[in-house]
Symmetry: C2
Subunit: 159 residues, 2 copies
């Protein structure tokens, strides 16, 4: 049964674009009563030590896992948290947010470039009013999307 869940979660996170290991690692720990070490992960899931290390770190940053000390043990052990709302929120902020940023920069750059080009060539064939209008519409949408995003995030934050 656990195998089924783990496999399914792996497929899901893979198609969502965050790698298969992520879903597998979280699900395995989530369905384990005992905290799990990196070795447990490599053995149970058949993934490499490197992959386990990186995945666990990312999940920890998102608040999906928590490090647990076990006295007399030198290994790091992890247990799963179940604040799914917070976890997803942070993951989205991290993954999407970072991806949006670069696009944002380019949008601004291109807009500035357009301003300059329009000012310096009042008599050529380019249809500046058309371009301006289209860019303005993108800007407007970005503003609305931003507000929607913020409010959704807020709702999720409140559980």
């Amino acid at each position: 049964m656990r195998r089924r869940f783990i496999e399914a979660a792996g497929q899901m996170t893979q198609t969502l674009g965050v790698g298969r290991a992520l879903g597998q690692v979280f699900t395995h720990i989530y369905f384990s009563r005992q905290p799990q070490s990196l070795d447990d992960l490599t053995q149970s899931l058949g993934i490499s030590k490197g992959s386990a290390s990186m995945t666990v770190r990312q999940l920890e940053q998102w608040g999906a896992l928590r490090k647990v000390w076990i006295k007399g043990e030198r290994k790091d052990y992890y247990e799963a948290l179940d604040h799914f709302g917070r976890i997803i929120r942070r993951a989205l902020l991290d993954v999407i947010g970072r991806k949006m940023e670069s696009g944002d920069h380019v949008l601004q750059d291109a807009e500035e470039e357009m301003q300059e080009a329009a000012a310096g060539s009042a008599d050529d064939a380019t249809d500046w009013t058309f371009l301006r209008d289209r860019v303005a519409k993108i800007r407007a949408f970005r503003g609305r999307a931003q507000r929607l995003w913020d409010s959704s995030i807020l709702k999720m934050l409140l559980k």
Copy 2:
């Protein structure tokens, strides 16, 4: 300037996991005053005819492009729409929705499997109450996420 936008949009859609051609095609048509044909796309963007055909169809399904007839022309021409809210909404429903479905099925299957297994082996070492509890928490979250999703979508729909 258009080149910059097109390149940026391509990068963005690529990292978002829907392919580079998608962003490029839409942006090119969006910044074109005249409706564009598949040939225009292959020439301007340097993509193949097959890619242009598939991309355009997907964008049309999402309501991002509209076919335009030009009398005396045998080619299909497309122009861009700017209802970004609706476009994104449909795209998300399509891309995410479809990806969620399969995961949903597996969740249900695994749950049934667990019920059966728990009933048939009351005396083995498996910790059924623990597993049940964890699965229940996933279910609960799915419900909340579904409601949040629906309401967000609704907001976007309303512009």
